[in-house]
């Protein structure tokens, strides 16, 4: 559905030329949900804007939905839906008007656009919002309207840019369910960007990790996480002596690996803290060491990044 080779894009700024995307290969098969994961400024949105014909690549080529991006932009546009991060609805417009007008830009008749729009509102739990002004919708509702607009031409391929950013956890979970059903019930191929690991985990069959304009890793979420050393546990004990002894005991008698002592704190990795901590505590009790505090840190995008790139995740964009 997507087949991109060496796609690159640089921008001229006052500080010189910024290479936002430095040559990426992307393959997405029909029916897949693929996540494009990376920190802000890594090149996710730039890549997606190239694949959706909004931005001309400075190098490379791509076929999207069966057509060449450079030569057949209009054919590509007919076959894709795109939901931008900031959305795309006019606050003063009515929901139904936005759907009908958008559908007509794809060449649908007024009646067809209205029928499809109404069906999409139903599918996305926006019943009864046809006559409402866009500005009266909640953030989650507005996001679902954006998605409805992106689907009005029944595209086989849907691009979502940070679909749940700015939504509360409930609205996010709800949107995830809708995205899954697009594929399950309508066979839509989905290519989404996100900087939330749990989002990629919850939705995607495959993940591409992008950093500084290059693909840093690709694989199923499980594969990527397998590359990590599991949960990080920070255990506080009574004094430095206990901490040094605890490190030895844990290494010898539990699943803990790579313990490090820092004052009264011992840090170590466990493949799974839920399964491994009781055993670690038993071992410590037998050695007469009483933990006074414990903190468990689950792997995050930072950890994926740290292990993939050896650097901490930068939240600041490269090109400010």
């Amino acid at each position: 559905m997507i087949e991109a080779r060496g796609l690159a894009r640089s921008f001229k700024t006052r500080e010189g030329i910024v290479e936002a995307v430095r040559g990426v290969d992307i393959d997405v098969s029909p029916g897949e949900i693929v996540g494009f994961l990376g920190p802000n400024g890594a090149g996710k949105t730039t890549t997606q804007r190239m694949l959706t014909t909004l931005l001309a690549p400075s190098a490379g080529s791509a076929r999207v939905a069966g057509h060449d991006l450079a030569r057949e932009a209009v054919e590509v546009r007919r076959r894709i839906g795109y939901v931008a991060q900031r959305g795309g609805t006019e606050p003063e417009a009515r929901v139904g008007e936005e759907l009908v007008d958008h559908g007509r830009l794809y060449g649908l008749t007024r009646a067809d656009a209205a029928a499809r729009g109404a069906a999409l509102l139903g599918r996305l739990d926006l019943h009864g919002s046809w006559a409402r002004l866009v500005k009266t919708l909640s953030g989650g509702q507005r996001r679902r309207l954006d998605i409805a607009l992106g689907l009005i031409n029944e595209p086989p391929l849907l691009f979502l840019d940070e679909p749940t950013s700015g939504l509360d956890p409930q609205a996010r979970a709800n949107l995830w369910a809708h995205i899954r059903s697009l594929r399950a019930e309508h066979g839509v191929t989905i290519f989404l960007t996100t900087h939330y690991l749990e989002e990629a985990d919850a939705l995607c069959d495959r993940i591409l990790v992008i950093d500084e304009g290059l693909i840093a890793a690709r694989g199923a979420p499980e594969e990527l996480k397998r590359g990590l050393a599991g949960d990080v546990v920070a255990l506080t004990v009574r004094d430095a002596d206990d901490a040094a002894r605890a490190a030895l005991v844990l290494e010898a008698r539990s699943a803990a690996s790579a313990p490090e002592v820092e004052g009264v704190i011992v840090r170590f990795h466990l493949p799974s803290a839920a399964a491994g901590l009781p055993e670690a505590f038993w071992a410590l009790e037998e050695a007469d060491i009483a933990p006074v505090g414990v903190e468990v840190h689950r792997p995050t995008l930072d950890d994926v990044f740290l292990s993939l790139t050896g650097r901490a995740l930068r939240e600041q964009p490269v090109a400010a």
Binding site: V74, I80, Y82, G87, E90, A93, D101, R104, L105, G107
Partner: protein, 253 residues
Amino acid sequence: MTTAAQTWLIFRRAMRLSLRNPVWVIIGIVQPILYLALFGPLLERVASTPGFPGGSSWQVFVPGLLVQLGIFGAAFVGFGLVAEMRAGVVERMRVTPASRVALLGGRVLRDVVVLLAQGALLVLGAFAFGLRAPLSGVLLGLLVVALLGAAFASASYAAALRLGTEDALASLLNTLAIPLLLLSGILLPMSLAPGWLETVSDINPLKHVVDGVRALFLGETASATVGWAVVTVVGLVGAGLALATRTFGRESG
């Protein structure tokens, strides 16, 4: 769907949104009426000054106001586009297969229709103040002003797409507006100006548009002055539309 049909669709959408919140349309018409009421009477005296063109002071002043409306009413439409860009509406439309000409043209058409309504109201108001001019001249004058508006609206959209923020657009407009206004003879005819100033103003295409609309209001139709105005305004429309269409097709917004 043809480009014309798409243009019509974008026009109707833009018009619907303008009418839903008509504050700007109303401000646009109140301003020229203030000029009519508060500045017009001053000109009645000035009209006897040597160098003042023939006809009544209203036949000189109202065409100037119409051109001013055509320029400044249209030059500010870019602010609306910046808001649409911020909301993501422009980008959403650019992902559709719709013609870029239509995405621009529908909006410009809305601006021209608003402008014509304001211009017609202005002429009717001026009639109450004492304007007398041939109907054909008034209608042709409005047509020239409509074309001028289309040119400035297009240029304003192109600038909005390039600049992307209200601040940048406002500084550009403020930089251009005062010299254009002063050198166009909109408020007082340039025939009153000393030689050097008149020469400088000759470079400003808007001066020729103002002169042409004045000539139309005086009943000329086939004169060289009118011809220059039409040529100028058609050239401006062509340049404005070409620039804006190119910008819409490019990757901004």
